[in-house]
């Protein structure tokens, strides 16, 4: 009996290790590539030959890279704020108010979430140019909100539903109005959900490529993902700089996870807090 248990545990560990390897290897490959010089990289050894920060230095030295980074950050932060705010308000409305067509609404939100964003890009391009939002960071920000908002609404909606109504009712009986209750009681209780939505919106905007490609043509408004692909389409492929750019792109994600992971893990489980 004990042997079987041990075996099944061992197999599980093995599977987990394999999954880890599967995910970690590309990241390792990228990190390794970014720390090598261009000729070394082509030799494709598992371990780096020598470590050099050449690629990073050159990357950061480029004015266009800094511009891309700044544009990306602006769009990502702005769309995260707008998307999270709207998701919280809409999710709260869906969870708290009764109105006809709520079921249809839920279907609609999910459909929006699943709707192929690529298919959406064409009409959006069409519309945005006709209302003069094409080629602007504001227009790009708005598209990113369009992409992240449905899932955000759905998540906040689900999340607000897990908060027992007794908290809200008790706040009311203690004299708090609806807005105060929302701000001081319900929002803090939904904090983990809010953070999950913000992370989702940020990640989506930070790495979004297709819309940025379609909407933005001027060099001054390009974002990092677009900039990165330019390393490829030049005359020769600058591998180590591409890798370095990839690493740079991953830094905000890494920082966010490190700071917020306690809320993220708590995310879906501690919604139904009991007093």
């Amino acid at each position: 009996m004990a042997t079987t248990r041990f075996l099944s545990k061992g197999l599980n560990y093995l599977a987990l290790a394999a999954v880890c390897l599967f995910f970690m290897f590309p990241m390792y490959w990228m990190l390794k590539g970014s720390l090598e010089t261009a000729p070394e990289l082509l030799s494709a050894h598992l371990l780096p030959g020598s470590i050099s920060s050449e690629a990073f230095r050159e990357l950061i030295g480029q004015a266009s890279f800094r511009q891309y980074f700044f544009n990306s950050a602006t769009v990502a932060i702005a769309s995260t704020i707008v998307s999270t705010t709207c998701a919280v308000l809409a999710g709260y409305g869906l969870a708290r108010f009764k109105f006809p067509g709520k079921a249809a609404m839920s279907r609609g939100v999910l459909f929006c979430y699943m709707f192929p964003s690529l298919a959406l890009s064409i009409p959006l391009f069409n519309i945005f140019y006709s209302i003069r939002l094409g080629n602007t960071l504001f227009g790009l920000m708005l598209t990113h909100v369009t992409l992240s908002l449905p899932f955000g609404i759905w998540l906040m909606w689900q999340y607000f539903q897990t908060i027992p109504s007794a908290f809200r009712e008790n706040a009311a009986l203690l004299g708090a109005g609806r807005f105060r209750t929302f701000l001081e009681v319900e929002l803090p209780l939904a904090r983990s959900g809010l953070i999950a939505v913000a992370i989702f919106a940020f990640a989506l905007s930070w790495e979004e490529y297709e819309f940025a490609f379609v909407l933005i043509t001027s060099e001054a408004s390009k974002t990092l993902p677009i900039g990165m692909t330019q390393f490829v389409t030049r005359d020769y492929v600058v591998w180590n700089m591409i890798m370095a750019a990839g690493i740079t792109m991953a830094v905000p994600a890494f920082l966010l996870i490190s700071f917020l992971q306690k809320y993220l893990v708590a995310g879906f489980t501690s919604g139904g807090l009991k007093g």
Partner: protein
Amino acid sequence: MANIVLSGIYKEFTSGRETHLAVDGLNLDVANGEFISLVGPSGCGKSTTLRMIAGLESPDRGRIFVDGRDVTAVPPQSRGLSMVFQNYAIFPHMTVRQNIGYGLKIAGMARADQEKRVREVARLVDIENLLDRYPRQLSGGQRQRVAVARAFARNPDIILLDEPLSNLDAKLRDQTRAELKQLHQRVGHTMIYVTHDQLEALTLSDRIAIMNKGVLQQFAAPSVVFQQPANLFVATFIGSPTMNIIPATLLHGEAHTAVHIEGWSASLPRGGSEWLGPTDVSAALVGIRPKDITVHDGHVEGRLPAVVTLMEPTGSDAILHLDADGRALVAQVADRFDFEPGDKVSLDLSLDHLHLFDVDSGLALYHGRAKYGARPARAHAGPTMAQGAA
């Protein structure tokens, strides 16, 4: 402190195509400083009633008055009452101090006064040393105290309690019950208490409102609902173990009415204040509490023969489950643990504690003459059970 009047309250809930009638034409008046309980089985409308008083639900018809003011359309935050929720609903992101002080902060009280008042209420329920803790660091009993302290903090006119003890374990429940009663005696708010536990209602309340299927069954003092239940529902809901109900035939003579149960009969004085309903029906349901059945060994002529089916010792008492000619009866006996399933016994039913109910309507027809605690012969010096044992 304030008085509350519910007038013709009617409320139904619709889910899908089904309509559920929660409260049906409820009238209730609660005096200044009174402690009343709303009691009944789950789904009887007691919680809905409480929530309507709180303003968390609106009645479909009827009006609610607090101190003569119609508050039916007033939102909960403007009614000036507090509530203790069944699951306490303590805000998990606030410390105990912040939880208790939240209502004061909303009311715009000065910081120093807030702190003073928080300390005061915390002392009242003995949680002064927990003020800086978060709810997750508290035990179930401590959370309950925080919820009570928060409800008292604003010093509201009315405090509503929705099964505040049901999440505590048996020992703690008994202890907290007594504390709650003492708290009421000390501060004297008007309190409305919802519970499914008849014992809590009996021990805590000035008056008890018993509800069933949205309809008020009886609204009276604990001793009255226990000794003079208005109908079969109240009779079987109040009291533990449950009152025995036995079908009987009545035979009316000049001065007496004979009550016949298969194997047993007795004679009750006809007329007089004990009779509440018609005195000419030929069938009735006899109600007798387990404590008012005396159990004798063996079969004796004139007593109701029965067989023991189960004995449940409860410490110094025991609950005997009996089979009397196919009818299941329960008797509560003190000081005896020597019955065993299969034992043949015979039963005396105390006529002074006998009730008769109408077969169709369930309304009380007759209550035995003796009122617990009001019998002259025993009131002040008679041997109580404990004395007898001394």
